[in-house]
Symmetry: C2
Subunit: 339 residues, 2 copies
DNA sequence: TTGTACGCGTTATCAC
DNA sequence: GTGATAACGCGTACAA
């Protein structure tokens, strides 16, 4: 009823008002002025609900991430938002921590037109039932891009943007080995996190390549939280032959590890080296400043979002996995192995 | 076109399918079964776009916050999401850091039916033009609740949920005064943050009450970032008569301050006490663990969100300001004043 | 209890 | 360049 009101007031048809809003260059200047005046007078704002309905598009994108308030994701999201603003999308965030949704619930968001696409920045259970939905839905799968996380076989058909976590973790491990460390502990994430699996694999690969043994008790679960990492660290420190270095699958856990090592009266890095992964902003001001592996977070966000938008707009269906470079950042929490 | 398909397949009318979805009790069991079968067979998912359009409701809520990846906001958002899930809303996040929108852009989201309401967890520029829009829009203002932040006069008409920042900061300051500190520095936030203004006021009030002078150079801007706080701290340390204690308007800045004090070769808390505000999860594992003022973050999120939903659903227009309790958490970063 | 038919506000497809 | 009008898919008043 509203575009009609404006149209009547301006003495034009609704079609013209619509054109004025969406492709003003198709409207003669004189008409444009009439319409503009009418819009200003009424304070008219187009009803987005109706517009989306008509266009069959929500301009909403769901970003699925493990937990908001993750300092690393902040940088990624900055990149995501940049592209979203540029291309006119809004971002709907779902975290997998507070809510335990399964994958279908996310794909449903697209099939039921609540969102146009999904940017998956978290590990979640694989395709499951959604696979069955390929038929009815008409399209094979919803527009979906994976950022950060490694891909399970089920999801390997989708485009992705991430660092090579295996290689990066291997680099970090090799760095410790070069410092003379032989007993290196690894604090991994949750069991279902493919990402931390990959990092663990990189660690194991590097150890193996250097012909160093990995005792089973050296690899401990840290649940990707400070608390979990603190527990894990205490376990490592109680070992008869405790590690001289601890590699944490992310910085959040490394900060917890740092605390517990110092709490136990040991010095970092003289007694134990600690390194992390992600280079969050707290790494630099940790005590001692944390050696870690940096990812180009904002770039990952930007590129994955861009590819998602392309997929939505049907411009590309390039399903290639895109790898961005990582970088070892050496700070004070790592040093030569003791003795 | 889709509800029709289901209806045809089930041999009923579209109205019946619609009823099946929205008020199943109005449908006879036998019919229900037919419809259910048809829905399962087709994999039908109702078009949310059409539904929202028809209902005139988006079930979307915009949460405006200073910056995602703020560890404190994570807890607040947990509370927000809890209520959102319960009541069937989705959350659309806008941060004021990466994007600089003004207030009108947020109210427009509601007026143009992109969202049902606004939860404001950040200080932003006051009403401005939106005030003018009261007429045409029909309603006085969009559903809006303030969480965390203090309110400017323009926004005082809206419901709010927060701690008493003035009183809390006064408590923290008094605590330092009791420890014998007389020269207490304050690192404040951005000039336009009402929140940190209030905390600064609490600090000044407490100093004044204790008949202690506040030298102008003791109050420094820290921009609400680690970097800013580090700069501010260096300034304070260079003072001829440097403070024996530093009160930071939030923990993020306190972590930066902690780093710089140690960097300068001073000991915390023996030479300088440092306290923060918010009790983020990194406060406990800081070195030394940070004394701070805790807010019931999740509760703030939950209550403010609940009030917003009530406002949207027209259940209440209680515009009272709700105050939740704060709590001083004493850890190792604060001690008696030196000498 | 179920079916028919209309309208929500916008955009797109035609003619003119 | 502009206007008339038919969709878009769903909910609901009303009739049966």
């Amino acid at each position: 009823m509203s575009i009609k009101k404006v149209a009547k007031l301006a003495g034009v048809s609704t079609a013209t008002v619509s054109r004025y809003l969406n492709s003003p260059e198709q409207v003669k200047e004189k008409t444009r002025n009439k319409v503009r005046a009418a819009i200003e007078e009424t304070g008219y704002a187009p009803n987005t609900l109706a517009r989306n309905f008509r266009r069959g598009k929500t301009s909403l994108i769901v970003v699925v991430l493990p937990s908001i308030g993750d300092p690393f994701l902040e940088s990624v999201m900055r990149g995501v938002w940049k592209v979203a603003d540029e291309l006119g999308y809004s971002i709907l965030i779902r975290d997998t921590q507070s809510n335990s949704h399964d994958f279908d619930e996310y794909t449903d968001l697209v099939f039921s037109k609540q969102a146009d696409g999904i940017l998956l920045l978290a590990s979640i259970s694989p395709f499951g039932e959604a696979e069955a939905r390929r038929g009815p839905s008409g399209q094979a799968h919803p527009p979906l891009v994976l950022g950060l996380e490694s891909v399970s076989a089920e999801l390997s058909q989708f485009p992705s943007v991430r660092v090579d976590n295996v290689a990066a973790a291997a680099d970090g491990t090799e760095y410790l080995i070069q410092l003379g460390h032989k007993r290196i502990g690894f604090i991994t994430g949750k069991p279902d996190s493919l990402l931390t699996h990959d990092r663990e694999k990189g660690y194991r690969d590097a150890m193996h390549k250097a012909k160093l043994n990995v005792a089973p008790e050296w690899v401990v679960e840290g649940e990707q939280t400070i608390e979990g990492a603190r527990r894990a660290t205490r376990q490592l420190l109680e070992l008869e032959q405790r590690p001289t270095a601890i590699f944490c699958a992310n910085d959040e856990m490394a900060l917890g590890a740092l605390y517990e090592v110092k709490q136990a009266g040991l010095r970092v890095p003289q007694d134990i080296s600690v390194i992390g992964f992600d280079d969050i902003r707290y790494a630099e001001i940790a005590d001692p400043p944390l050696t870690t592996i940096a990812q180009p977070a904002e770039e990952i966000g930007e590129r994955s979002m861009r590819r998602l938008c392309e997929a939505i707009e049907g411009k590309e269906n390039n399903t290639a996995a895109e790898t961005v470079p990582h970088r070892l950042v050496v700070r004070k929490s790592s040093a030569n192995a003791p003795k």
